[in-house]
Amino acid sequence: MTATTLPPAPAAPSGARRRIGPFEALGHGLTLADRNLRHILRTPTTLIDTVIQPVLFLLVFVFLFGGAISGTWQDYLQTLVPGLMVQITMYASIGTGMALNTDISKGVFDRFRSLPIARSAPLVGAVLGDVVRYAVAVTVLLLLAFALGFRVQTDPFSALLACVLVVVFGLTLCWLSVLVGMVVSAPQAVPGIAMAVILPLTFGSNIFADPETMPRWLELWVSVNPVTHFVDTVRGLMIGGPVAGPLTVSLIAVVVCHVLLLPLALRAYLRKVR
């Protein structure tokens, strides 16, 4: 701002509140997260996306391709489920960008901005809503998988840790979703752009097939793809196998992605809320 002659600030009436503390900001974020959850329950398409997608992926891949890929669909189920947990949270993260963009284009965002609430609240609300969506999608997936015969071959604590890590991995992509949501002009544009990133990450990984069966160039991509390491970690924790190695690589990838994406996403967001 290049105000030329700022007159002295007028004496402010007393009793007005000028700053929003962290606890209050969290309260605002939670209130808006609650609103986003109502959306998920209220809008059939979001609910379908969150619930139907894991079900479809599981059924199609297990019964259609499972026998061909692993000999029997029962064997395939064991290796696929941990991979699908990673994949569906990536898909679910598209929702954050769409929700924020919808709020901006519909004017809801400006309504919130005109209220004396923390600037972070709409973002916190959207991201927390996303976390719940991940949890719902993973729960649906696991319930169906258990019904089909999937069994955790380690211990409940490891399985729980796997679920938590899946949410953390999902959040990495959520910032990309926020960034896209801030930049594009209409919410419908978010899935297209997000999918262009998510498809090579999820299909170009070890989620669905053994990389050793792939051409050399693809195998190379799969081995550097962070999703492969996420999946290795979750598999190790759910059905046994090495964990420490893939977990280290995964956490490095999470940190690197956050370092790259979070500042960009926050900058794009702050430009809109300022």
Partner: protein, 321 residues
């Protein structure tokens, strides 16, 4: 007089476009200011700045004594905003929207529930209150938008084109509500393309055109600026329009203005014998007219004489019923 909203020298650029080019606005506490101007005049940009949604490139804004640029949070605690961009959540019900805002304002649970109930009743939305807002009619939608901006009992209310696209009955209802709020001491800044609306509601009117204030005053003062009376002529045959313009220019000594329809000629005048002289000339030249009148100027005439251009047609593209 106690000034509640004061903006000085507002400049806002969007790339090459200058949306505001040094706008001053002043609204005394408890009064209604109508900001009048065509589409693209800069009205919405000005309201967004006054509501802390946008920062000006230059200028100062003070709301009830607070510097809106330095202390936006304090200002947000005082204002309510209703406009095409500050909207409610369509997926939630009307009541849920009001409750959501009450919760965001950190009202205690009992208070936000009571406030939502009270507003739903006051805005005649009791039946619709538990339906999602996306099912609302245009008039109901504007009422819930307005109700949403009143949850925190704002001392200052911005209404950005609150009745654009509404049918006359809904518009009348909204006018009644706005008048009631001002009577209760709320300071209101209202933008409109409808001259009738500014005339009807506002204590004072500021006319904005192309990012600049072109006139300011009470509705009565603005009308006086255009001369005591306005001549209107429309010919039966549009081909005669130019000839009549020539005749009127000849009689008045100044060029008359052409209305939005490109057929109605109008000119401010104080000459008491103009009409009879004009009738004689038209008769001699055998020009038939649909309309030939001398009347008190309305705000369309004000805009025309202030800017030299007719007010762009205020009819919105879509009419929400």
């Amino acid at each position: 007089m106690d000034i509640c909203i004061r903006a000085q020298g507002l400049v806002k650029r969007f790339g090459e476009t200058i949306a505001l080019d040094g706008v001053d606005l002043e609204v005394p506490t408890g009064s209604i200011l109508g900001v009048l101007g065509p589409n693209g005049a800069g009205k919405t940009t000005a309201v967004r700045i006054l509501a802390t949604l946008s920062r000006p490139d230059e200028g100062t804004v003070s709301i009830a004594g607070y510097d809106a640029l330095r202390d936006p949070v304090a200002v947000r605690g005082l204002i309510g905003l209703t406009g095409q961009y500050a909207s409610v959540d369509e997926e939630l019900t009307g009541r849920e929207n009001l409750e959501l805002i009450g919760r965001l304002l950190r009202l205690p649970a009992r208070r936000w529930r009571a406030r939502a109930r009270e507003l739903v009743e006051r805005f005649d939305l009791v039946e619709a209150g538990d339906r999602p807002v996306k099912t609302y009619s245009g008039g109901m939608r504007r009422r819930i938008d307005l109700a949403a901006s009143l949850v925190g009992r704002p001392r200052v209310l911005y209404l950005d084109e609150p009745t654009t696209g509404l049918d006359p009955r809904s518009r009348g209802e909204l006018w009644r509500i706005v008048r009631g709020l001002a009577d209760d001491g709320t300071t209101v800044l209202l933008t409109t393309q409808y001259l009738e609306e500014a005339d009807e509601l506002a204590d004072r009117i500021t006319v904005i055109d192309r990012g600049r204030v072109v006139a300011e005053g009470t509705p009565r003062e603005l009308k006086r600026m255009t001369g005591s009376q306005t001549l209107h002529v429309r010919t039966v045959n549009p081909a005669d329009t130019e000839r009549v313009r020539g005749i009127v220019a000849d009689l008045l000594g100044t060029a008359p203005l052409l209305g939005t329809d490109a057929m109605t000629i109008s000119a401010p005048t104080d000459d008491p014998v103009l009409l009879s002289a004009l009738v004689r000339r038209l008769d001699q030249e055998a020009i038939a007219t649909d309309e030939l009148s001398l009347r008190l100027p309305d705000l369309d005439d004000v805009f025309l004489s202030l800017t030299g251009r007719p007010l762009p047609d205020a009819t919105p593209e879509e009419t929400v019923v």
